[in-house]
Each structure stands twice: as C-alpha cells, then as structure tokens.
C-alpha cells in the first residue's frame, strides 16, 4: 500500500515536476502575451490620425506635421521636361534645398522619378539629410502616354502598375519619404475633352454622361488596386490620390476607398471656396492641396507682377491654415499644401520648339477668371505657365571651358511670395490681406 503510495508518489514526482515546469512556461508565455498585448503596435512612420472632433492630423515620426510644400521640377533654362535633373552634376537640389529651408518649406513634390531610381533615392536622401525636407513622390500613371492613356486596357494597366511598384520597392526605405502621390489631374480626361481615352466597352454606352461615369469607375478602381498594393509593400507611407478639383470624387469614394489622402489640384484664385467642406460631403478623407498657386506675370499689364502672385498665395495659405486640425472655424480636414511651384520653367509654352526653352515666354496658355487681377488680358488669357516660380531663374554666364559644353546652375532669385509666405509661416495668423 505504502509502496503503492510511494510508487504513486514516485510516479507523480516527474509529473509534478512537469506540471511545475509547464506552469512556469505558461506563466512566462502569459506574461509575454500580456506584455505584447499591452504594448502598442509599432507606429507607421507617416500616418493620419483622426482626432476626437473628427479632424485629421498628419503624424510624422510621432509628431504632428503640417505640409508646407512646393512642387519641385528644377528644369534649367534651355532644357525641356525630358531633362534628367536627377543626375544633374550641378545638383540643383542642394542650392534649392538651402533656400527652401530658409523659407520654411518642409516638403517637396516630385511628379515622377526618372528612370534612374538610384539617382532619385540620392536626391530624396540629400534633401532630407541636409535640409530636413521630405519628399512626396508622384507617378503620372501613364497619363501623358502618347497617343492616350488606356485605363480600360489590362496590358496598359499592368505596365503602369509594374512601373509604379518598382518605384515603391526602390524608394520605400528612404527616411525622407512622406507620401506616394498617384496621378495628377487624370480625372479631367473623363469628360473626353482633354487627354481623351476610351475603349470599345465604353463607347458602346453611347450616352456621353454614361461614358464619363464608366471612365471614372475604370480609373478610380485602378487607383484603388494600386493603393492596396502599395499598402502591402510599404505600410509606412500613405497613398495620396491626385485629383483635379473635386470633380468625380463622389465616384472615387465608391471605387477608390483605400486611398489614404485626397490630393487636390486647385486653381481658384484668392480662395479655395467650399472645397474643404465639400470634400467632407463627397469623399471624407484627409486633404492635401498638392498643387495650387498663382503666376507672377500680369498678362493684362504685360509685365512681371510679384505683388499679384504673393497676394494670391498668401490668401491661399490663410485658407489652408484655417482648415487644419484644431483651427476653430474650418473643416479640420486639411493636412497642408504644396505650392506650384519652386522655380519658373522656361520650356512650357512651346515645348516642341527648343529655341523657346531659352526664352521666358509671356504668352498665356490658359484662362482662369478666378485670377481676376489680369483677366482683362487679350481673350482673357491670363495664366502664364512659365511664371509660376516662387523663385525665378536668372541665366548665369557660363565660364567657357575648351571643348566642353558650359554647365552652370541658373541663379535663383526669390520673388516677393518667397518672403511673404516665409513670414506667414512664422506667424500663421489669418491676417487681413487687402490687395493694393
């Protein structure tokens, strides 16, 4: 009996030992799980936080961040849009970055990297490491393909997707990266009036309104697919969808719900009007004004007008700040803005004529009544594409070197807007801005 008991005890000995060991392991595991459960999930580097009042706030490395950006496309005088500035030996971003930093710029927007992604990576890194300037990296999504973008063609979409994801893979690790920006004003093509594209399926619908809706659905669904892919590859950086005005965003809310931020391109002169509240009602996402601004050429008076440009930009920034999170009277959905643009671009008016790239053309390319100060120009053509720079380019005489094409960086001369916005950012109260 006793033996039995001993035996049982002996038998239980290792079992008890096992039990104790199991208990210890269990407790340890439990502690680990508890600790893991209590600890917050690792934060994304860049994300949008929704505040208690429903406002949106951009967080970058754990701190609130207001986008004070400029579109950056440093094409030198005499070159055109196909110039590979990413590999420019003059490294314009070093001169520009220093000037931007002095002004208070904290982000630049590139429309698309060049073929050489390593060069793009270097530029992003240098802008961030030397000046603290972050990069919004864009992709045209094939919008400027000739003869037209074919968003209803699977082969075309595949190509665009591959190119975009190759870019994301190559640049996602850069510390200076802020957002991915998909498209620009691609939605204007839905009407069939600009960069028209279609397909047999769409044409069969016949009715122009139905064709437009079909194009919108096709395009926004594609953007959504891309946003989801980017989230999978790079969860650290939000995806912005570029859109001209608020046009068709009601459809985007249905077909592109996975984009994180709406990036609007707005040219409404002094005010953005109802855009902030309008977006709340159509596609309630955070908003970055990824392109807005004013040109510095008065087409009516036929002369440079820095006051005019500064006036519009200052008014526009006033509205952006009024609609940031925490601002009492606004919609609280704006994360900041990106002015168009850092430097003038001399190639734009007649891009197919190389002689025109060395001349700052004063001919107007389009008309916009919201920029009312020079709307009485001939045929109301008041928007001068080559004069949107916050900084103007001044040709420098290049030192002649035997047998070499002289290369020298165009001198940068900040316009009035540079200083006006610098002062505004220092003390961003909404000041009265009567136009003199």
């Amino acid at each position: 009996m006793i033996e039995d008991r001993r035996q049982r005890t002996e038998d239980r000995g290792p079992r008890r030992h096992d039990f104790r060991r199991g208990l210890r392991v269990f407790c340890l595991l439990l502690s680990v799980f508890c600790l893991l459960g209590m600890a917050k999930a690792p934060k994304k580097k860049v994300y949008v936080k929704t505040l208690k009042d429903g406002s949106y706030q951009l967080m970058v490395q754990g701190r609130p961040f207001v986008v004070k950006g400029v579109c950056y496309n440093p094409i030198p005088i005499g070159k055109s849009h196909d110039h590979d500035f990413w590999n420019d030996p003059e490294k314009p971003w070093l001169v520009d970055g220093a000037l931007m930093k002095k002004m208070g710029v904290n982000a630049v927007r590139f429309y698309q990297p060049g073929e050489d992604l390593e060069a793009a990576r270097r530029v992003i890194a240098e802008l961030y490491q030397k000046f603290g300037i972050r990069t919004m990296m864009g992709h045209w999504l094939g919008f400027w393909n000739y003869p037209a973008p074919f968003y209803d063609d699977p082969e075309f979409r595949k190509k665009v997707k591959e190119d975009l994801l190759r870019t994301v893979e190559a640049l996602k690790g850069e510390e200076g990266l802020l957002f991915w920006v998909l498209g620009n004003e691609n939605n204007y093509s839905f009407s069939g009036k600009v960069n028209p594209w279609t397909s047999e399926r769409i044409e069969k619908l016949g009715d122009p309104r139905q064709c437009m809706l079909a194009r919108a659905q096709t395009y926004y669904s594609f953007v959504n697919e891309l946003a989801r892919e980017i989230h999978r590859i790079d969860p650290d950086h939000p995806v912005v969808m570029g859109n001209g005005e608020l046009i068709c965003l009601d459809l985007a809310s249905e077909f592109a719900p996975d984009v994180d931020i709406v990036g609007c391109i707005i040219y409404r002169g002094k005010t953005f009007g109802n855009i902030f509240k309008g977006l709340r009602n159509t596609f309630d996402k955070p908003l970055v004004l990824i392109e807005f601004g004013a040109d510095a050429y008065n087409a009516q008076d036929k002369k440079e007008d820095e006051d005019m440009q500064a006036f519009f930009l200052k008014s526009q920034w006033g509205e952006i700040y009024k609609n940031l999170a925490g601002s009492p009277d606004g919609a609280g959905n704006c994360l900041g803005g990106v002015m168009f643009e850092w430097t003038d671009e001399w190639w734009k008016h007649n891009e197919w004529d190389p002689a025109g790239w060395s001349v700052q053309d004063t001919a107007s390319n389009w008309s916009n009544g919201s920029y009312y100060l020079d709307i009485q120009a001939e045929r109301n053509m008041n928007m001068n594409e080559e004069w949107f720079g916050i900084v103007k380019l001044v040709p420098e005489d290049a030192p002649e070197k035997e047998g070499q094409v002289p290369a020298v960086l165009d001198r940068r001369q900040p316009r009035k807007a540079y200083y006006d916005i610098r002062e505004f950012w220092k003390d961003p109260k909404t000041k009265r801005n009567p136009r003199k």
């Binding site: 004003e185 204007y188 009407s191 069939g192 009036k193 600009v194 960069n195 028209p196 122009p208 001209g244 005005e245 046009i247 391109i265 040219y267 820095e306 006051d307 390319n365 389009w366 008309s367 100060l373 045929r379 109301n380 928007m383 594409e385 900040p414 316009r415 009035k416 540079y418 200083y419 610098r422 002062e423 000041k431 009265r432 801005n433 009567p434 136009r435 003199k436």
Partner: protein
Amino acid sequence: MRKHIFLFLLTGWLAITPAFLVVAAETGIQDLKEIDPADPKASLAIKQAVESALAKGDYENISADLRFLLQHGFGSSPDAYFYLAYIRHRQLESWKQSKNWEGVYDRGPGLKKEIHENLSSAEKYLENRPELLLSIKFLRWQLSVEEGSDTEKGLFQDLIASAQKAPATPEALVLIRQMADDLSVMEDKAYSRGLYEVYAEKFKGTNLTGSQLKDAAEEFIRQKNIYLSKTLFEGHLEQFSSDPEALARELVFIADKYAHQGVEEALDPVYAEALYQRAFELKGAQAFTPDSQYHRAFNLERMKDFESALRQYEPVSSGDPEPVRRREALFRCGVLAAYGLNDLARALSYFERVKAVPSDTLGMSSLYQLGLLNQWKGELEKASAFYEEFMAATRDAGIDLNKDELALLCAERIREISQKQPFPYSLGLFLEGTFGAQGAVKKDFTPAGLHVDVTGRPPKTPVGENIVFEVTTSVGKTGCMVPAYAYEWSGETGGLSNIPNTPVLTTFYVSPGIKVIHAAVVGNAGLEGVGFDMVQVEGQEAGAGEIPRVKDSEVTI
C-alpha cells in the same frame, strides 16, 4: 471766385506730385539746418527739402537733417516727425519697387517701428492743422494695411471722419481727391469710394450750381474716373427729385454717356442700363429720345442680352424718325431673333419687312438671310427665289458679282441647291447648333454644351478698317489642360482670304452694311457650341462696283 475754385479742383491735382505734397512758392531757405523754428515758412521749407531729397532718392541725409532739427528747436514740430515717418515709408516703397525683398522683409520691421513712433509724436504735437492731420492718418492707415493689421478698418473710418471734418479748402479737397485716386487701384473699391464720397460732398458744398456739377462729372468721364463721375452725376440728379420728367430726361442723358455707342468700348454698360430702366419706370417710353432708344437697344445687344435688345429695337423699328435707323433696327431684330433666340419664324418676318426695299445694303442682306434660313428649313425653292432676287438686284446695281462678298455667298448657296449639296461644314455646323438638325427646325432649340460668345471690335467701323472677332467660351474646369477646340467661322467673314481655325479672326470689309458672322466651336466629341455677332461697316457713298447706300428719301417703310 467759385469758378476759380472749380477750375482748380478740376485741374489742380494734375500738377501735384503723387505724394500729395502741395508745393507752394519757394521759401528762400537754402539749408534746412538754418531754419528758425519761429519762421512761418519753416513747415513749407521742410516740405520742400523732403521733396527735393526724395526726388534724388536720398533717404538717409534728409532723415539725418530732420533728426538734427528735432534736437535743435523742432522737438515739438509735427512736420519734422511726420516727414521722418513719411521718408521711411517712401524708402520702404522704393525697396518694394526695386524688389529689394531682403530689405523689405528683414529691415522693414525696424523701419515700420520708427514710422509708428514718429507718427505718434507728430499727432501729439499737432494743433489745428487739418491737412497734416489727414496726411498722418492716411499714412497710419496705409501702414496698417501693409501689416495686415486688424486695426486697419478702424483707422480708415478715422481717416474718413477726419476728412469729413476738414474744412472745404482747395488744399484739403485736393488732398482728399489725391488720396482717393491713390486708393482707386486697390482691389476693394470701398476705400477709394469712401474718400470720393467725402470729396464729392465737399465739392457739392462749395456752392457749385447743378450744371457745374454736371460739367465736373463730364470732365471726370474724360479723365476715366468713372466712379467719381457717377457720384457727381448723382449729386446733379438730386436737384430734379421733384420733377420726374426732368429727372427721367437727365437719367437718359447720363445713361447715354456710359452705354455702348459703337466705336469705343462702353464706360459702364450695366450702369447705363440701370439708368435707362429708372428713366423708363418714371416716364415710360416718353423718357427716351429716338437716339437714346436706339442706344439702349444697341447697349443691350452688345451686352449679349439678345431678348431685351430685341424688345428695345422694336420701338426703334416702328417709331424712329430716321428711316435708315428703322430699317437697321428691323434687320438687327431679324438677326437677333434668328441666331440669338433661335426663333426662325420670327426672324423671317423681320427680314421680309426689311427686304421691302431691296435696293439698299440692308435689303440685300435681308434677301440673303431669307434665302439662308429657308434653305436650312428645306424650303429650297423659296430659298432659290430669294437668292436669285438678290443676284438680280445686285446685277442691276452694276455690282461685280465676282467681287461682292454677299453675291459670292449667294452664288455658293445657289450652287448647293442646284447640285443638291449640303452647306459647307462650318456654316452647316453653326446652323445645326442654332436650330437643331437641318429640316427639323423647332423653336427654342437649345444646343447642349458650351456657351459661346462672339464679339467683334469695334462694332462700328469704316470700310477697309480691321475688325477683330473673338470667341470666348464657358469652358468647364480642366485645370491647365486646355481642351483642343477648332473654331469654324462662317457667314460674312470679310476680305480675309484664309480663315483660320483659331478663336480670333481679324478681318476687314470692302463694302458697307451690317455684317453677320458666325462661329461654331468643335471639340473632340463634335460640336460644342455656337455664337454670332453683327458689326456695322460704314463707308463713303457708293461708287462703281459698290452696293449703293440707301438715301432717306428712297425709303418707305
């Protein structure tokens, strides 16, 4: 004396520098540092010295001189303090002009502080100097605007109050007017209007007669100061408040000044129509002379208010004592009814009435229009008859059928009918956009798409002079991406041999008459919209090969 004040006020400011510094006679003082504070000419001497220095762009030496004065007997001189502030403000302005933004933004705050301090001192020591007080308040307000200060509105009210209180001396009036002129370039016109109103009140208070106010207002029209002219005209109208007939007459008289008249751009066509409307409400059609009735209609036509224009041309077409103008009005009614209101039947009835006298230019043009509209309706026999009538009349008048534009157009239409060909592309598009599909004409057809305006400038011009037609459209938002449109011009396109596909067409006409020109705007998806305009070409009496102009005695309508 009153007349002298009046003349001075009308012309005085022209001789004054932009800085509203009224320069009087020489003081004879050479060196600013030698001025005696007790010298009654001291203020003037300071003014002159400042002006002279500013003209040379010297800000530092003159500031040093003024500071010297402050320490040597001028410590309580408001002039010295004011001009110190004024000089610094001008210095800041000069930096802005020369785009010295580093100076404006980096040194500017220090300068502004100095300006504020000196203005406060100037005001502190100021006694019974209304003009200087105005200058101080104006500068203080200017500064607050530049700084985006919240006090800016209050300071402007303060300035207005000081201006109202200032005695109506010629100097004060000139100063107020100068300030208002300076502010008239601001986007918010309420600023300059506020001061113009004070100026006008004071001006009226100088016991000028009603007719002098009217003369002054007309002088301001010549100077293109539209707002001030309107304000003074309103003052002039006050004297007729108890006499509706006279008031209506004066309203029309003034409206004619602002309305479209033909050659030059109108000063304010909308204001003109508002005055015409007021006059009509007072006395109905009696308020209008035949000229004014015509001006009102023409003004509305140029404003592209086609329906109202047609309504106003109706009384001209039936009641104007000049037969030529009656026929002109009828013809314009026809064009407006056809291409402005898309009312083909109504248009035909007008043209039928004009063609009753086919030997003049309007009769000939009406025959062509009748042919064209009938051809579009599918009434080809009728159309041919009108065209043939035109050709016969033209031949009878000894006109070269191979040179006259309308004759060439008629020949083209006749050929189309005989060969069963469609209209040329551009004309067909325009008519389709105006009336709907050919042969299925219906009233009130509204083409979808763009609103298209065609405007010819000038709307009345001599034979052989250039006229520029422009198409403007209501383009939907497409950012900087401009839709690619083709502009298809048709109708009487004048002597230009190659008609471009562009929105601007510059042409000329070799024969007189009212020319009707059309444009169709074509986009990727086809026809987007249509527009038209009429221009009146005036020439010498008809010579060989020209269509004879109508003489009053020949007309029976």
